[in-house]
Structures are given as structure tokens and as C-alpha cells.
Amino acid sequence: MNLNVDIGIKISNPFILASGILDENGYTMKRILENGAAAVVTKSIGTSERQGYNPPIIYENDPVFLNAVGLSNPGIDNFKDEVKIALESGRPVIGSIFGKDAPEFSELAKKMESYGVSAIELNLSCPHVNGYGMEVGSDPDLVYEIVSEVKSRVKIPVFSKLSPNTSNILEEAKAAEKSDALVLINTLKGMEIDIASKKPVLSNVYGGLSGKCIKPVGIRYVYEVKKETGKTVIGVGGIENVNDAIEYIMAGASAVQIGTAIYRHGIKIFNELNSGLIEYMDKNGISNINDMIGVAIA
């Protein structure tokens, strides 16, 4: 049975840890890589140290899961050691980076590459400096520029993580065309108010919705982008079990990332997904995972 997939890098199964969940401390990434994840994406790292927002940074009320971490990160220079620790696992680390423009992204990418990561993931959902409430990813020209410049500066594959907070995903996907893979989706903007205190529950007021609520949105973007562009897609958003992962794969994802579900299922979810997938393929007489990619696309 073949579980290997190719997303620009070859990985031994389709299950990857999503950026921002248990991937700040090198030891945690290492542990997750040793427990079934084919690869991990690091927390999104910027040029300098950021505290992020004050807690509360998460709000959970099943099925709603909101976060507003605020891109807290130690800064690229302080992150070298964490990557090094994670790489002790012998499995690939994907370096997620965020910035405000192409030069910033390029610098970060080069440093990540020098740390030994196997690929770069561009987090294009960071705030757009010139656009009120807008994200970098919803400015196609900027996306094009960032992807082009990063591609020309590093040798390793580059993934673009696109935002679902958009009216035209295909335009975004087109702008990121030079990427080796597209990662869909980041969180949906949302918020909740606690009516007893009459206050927003997150200290940043606005946050990102993830988990099971956004799965239909993720499936839609993966399906639409795969169908219309044919590019390699990595699916992410609300994957809780192997059936969700298979759904993403049938929609066109070559691999999937798992984030929020770790809250409910723990790190063991990666081993469970692997054995679940083997069981499914066995039962359905599928010997190669690649035969499942995009089969639902009409």
C-alpha cells in the first residue's frame, strides 16, 4: 500500500501538522513527528519577536473554535534552535513565515531555508499594511510579487497559504500560481460576545474561526481551486477524523493539515489518522493514495 504523496516534497503519509498549533517549541514538533505526522508546519515566524495578543487568545464552545494569537513568535533569529530540535526526528519541517511585503518574506524564507526546513509556507493571511481590515492575501498583486520573489530566492519548494476571507479565491490562486502548492484554508474571521459580561470574549475582539465549522468552506475552496487550476493543493480546515481527511483528498487535496482537532483528540490523532486511512484503503481495495486525489471532481 502506498501512502506517499508528493507536494513538492515527498512525504510518507498525507497528514501534516497545521501552522500555529503545537509548533512553537522544537520539542513539541519533534514529538509530533515521532507520532505519525509526515511533516509539521512551524508557527508563522516574522522578522522580529512579537508577544502577540493578551489572553484570552482562544474561545471554545463546541462547535465554535476561535483564536486570536496575534502572530506571537520569537522572531526568525530566535527560531533556529527550535527547527534544529524538530529536525532531530528525521522528518521534514515546513517553515511558515509572515511579513508585510516581498523583501520581508524573502529574507525570512532564506533564513528558514538555511535552518534546514524542507519547504516554505507563506502565511498570506497577515494584516495588509495599507488595507483596513484586509489581509495580504486579498491583494493579488502583492501575492504575485511575494511568491515570485521568494521563489527566486530559495531552492526549496514554496507553498502559499490562502485566506478564505475573500470574494474571489481563483484570483488569489492565480496570483500565487508560481507556488509549488496552495494551502487552503486559513481561519475565517469571526468573534463572539459573552452576554453576561457584555464583552467580546477574545482580548483582540476579532479572531479566526477554525475546526469543524469551517470544513465545508475548506472543502469548497480545495475543490474549486483544484478543479479550476489543477495545482497541487494541501487541504486544511476542520479535519477531525479520517473521513474528513478522505473528503479533502477526494476534493483534490494531495495532503492535509490538522490543527484544531488536536484540542479534542490530542497528538495521537496522527497515528489514528494513519491507521484509519490504511483500514479505509484496505477495505476499498485502494493500493495507492494518489488514486484518491480529486476523484470527486466532476
Partner: protein, 245 residues
């Protein structure tokens, strides 16, 4: 977000308050809740009593702890949880070793079979000395009890007397107790305190050797800690920067 109504608020020293309120979910010794100060912040707090009305004991450092410590009876207290793996209960003789506010989460373990080493910087920082019978007091400055650290008092005791030893306090204090007890006994549990942002095993801010203190802890046995070489050595700051202790 859950909320309850503050039942009582007792100031137990200069900057520390014990608050009581009713909780619906059962709470076990060693567990914690994330308490929300609306518009201000959110911090993890353990229980100094797990029976309804449960009790928390909060020392004022910054704005969130100040807000919480000053909640008056009748006011709403907002929280999520309880979270975390509790202490293992035993029926026999117990020793608790607590330093500073780290004494609080050990208090639910106190019964008439419990001995305690309580340590603090000075006499005025000591809390709960009135709640324990077999008490060994240690202060950094010698204003009460033995002058020195908790581990100094421990060294004078026969640890084989106890069916379980429970430890909570600053990591450096716990590390010295750990170093002393290592290879002497396996019946020791430590409650770790690391920066916590999410409290539910998602954000990685509290992790130690890939283990989430908020979810897989905060209570760890001495055996667990043998595999955690970050213990007493390094941790991440709020930004995610590695700090050497």
C-alpha cells in the same frame, strides 16, 4: 464562558486573597481554571479547596490577578475549565512541599495524615500556616522557621515515612527537590507552572519536552520528569522565545 457569583473574598496577606464561589463541574486537587478578567486578561488559577463553594487563592502581580483578587461577593467571576490532570490521591501519610502561592493547589490534599513544608521569602508571605497541623516552616530570610529553602527542611526528614510527596512552587525550587528525591523514591508528584495561553493543549506556550503542561499536566510524577530534560532548564516565553532558567 462560564461564570459564577463570588461568595466570599478573604484577604489572607498583603497581596493575596482567597475567594470562594460555587462550581457545577466537580474539581479535583491539582486542576485549574482559566479565569477571565473581561477587557483585561485571562490567567490560570488552581484551587485551594475543591469542595463547593470551591476556593481559589490569588496573589496580585499584574492587572488580571489584581482584578480577580478584588472581586467582591455578589460579583461575577468568569472562567473556563476545570482543566488538567489532578494529583493522585492516597489514603496514607502525605507530605506537601509548597513555596509561595504554590502552596495553594496543595491545600485540598491536607487532612490529618498530612505533613507540610511551607516556604516563602519572609514570614509575611507565608499563607495557610493555620490550616495544617504537622507543619515545617522555611523562610529565605529566617523571619520564621528554618532559614533556607524547602529542600533544606526536606533533607532533615525521613521521606520513607510518607506514602506520597506532593510538590508545588517555583520551578527552581521544584528542581532542587526533584534532584534530592531522584533515586530515593518514586512516590512524588510535582505540579508545574509554565506560561499558559490557551490552557487546552493547542498553543504550545506551556510545553515541556513536547508534553503540554496544561493538558497532560500540570501534575507530573517524578518518573515522568525523568524524561523531561527541559524541566528546570529551559522554557519558552510568551512570544515563544527559548529562555534558559
Amino acid at each position: 464562558m462560564n461564570h459564577s457569583i463570588v461568595y466570599s473574598n478573604v484577604r489572607i496577606n498583603e497581596s493575596t486573597h482567597s475567594l470562594r464561589f460555587f462550581m457545577e463541574s466537580p474539581v479535583h486537587p491539582g486542576q485549574f481554571i482559566m479565569i477571565w478578567a473581561p477587557g483585561i486578561g485571562e490567567i490560570p488559577i488552581s484551587f485551594s479547596s475543591v469542595n463547593n463553594p470551591v476556593e481559589i487563592t490569588v496573589k496580585i502581580y499584574g492587572e488580571p490577578s489584581k482584578y480577580i483578587a478584588n472581586l467582591m461577593p455578589g460579583e461575577k467571576i468568569f472562567y473556563r475549565g476545570p482543566y488538567g490532570r489532578p494529583f493522585t490521591g492516597v489514603t496514607g501519610k502525605k507530605l506537601i512541599i509548597g513555596a509561595g502561592t504554590g502552596i495553594a493547589p496543595l491545600m485540598p490534599l491536607v487532612d490529618n495524615m498530612t505533613s507540610a513544608i511551607l516556604s516563602a521569602k519572609t514570614k509575611n508571605d507565608l499563607i495557610f500556616t493555620d490550616r495544617i497541623k504537622n507543619l515545617y516552616v522555611v523562610t529565605d530570610d529566617g523571619t520564621l522557621g528554618i532559614k533556607g529553602f524547602a529542600v533544606d527542611a526536606l533533607k532533615q526528614m525521613d521521606i520513607n515515612e510518607f506514602d506520597m510527596i506532593y510538590v508545588c512552587g517555583p520551578e527552581i525550587m521544584m528542581k532542587s527537590v526533584y534532584d534530592y528525591l531522584l533515586n530515593k523514591t518514586d512516590r512524588v508528584e510535582f505540579s508545574l507552572e509554565r506560561p499558559m495561553k490557551c490552557g487546552i493543549g493547542i498553543c504550545d506556550s506551556c510545553s515541556i519536552n513536547g508534553i503540554q503542561v496544561c493538558r497532560d499536566g500540570p501534575v507530573f510524577s517524578i518518573k515522568d520528569l525523568k524524561n523531561m530534560d527541559e524541566f528546570g532548564r529551559t522554557r519558552l516565553s510568551f512570544s515563544g522565545k527559548r529562555i534558559y532558567l
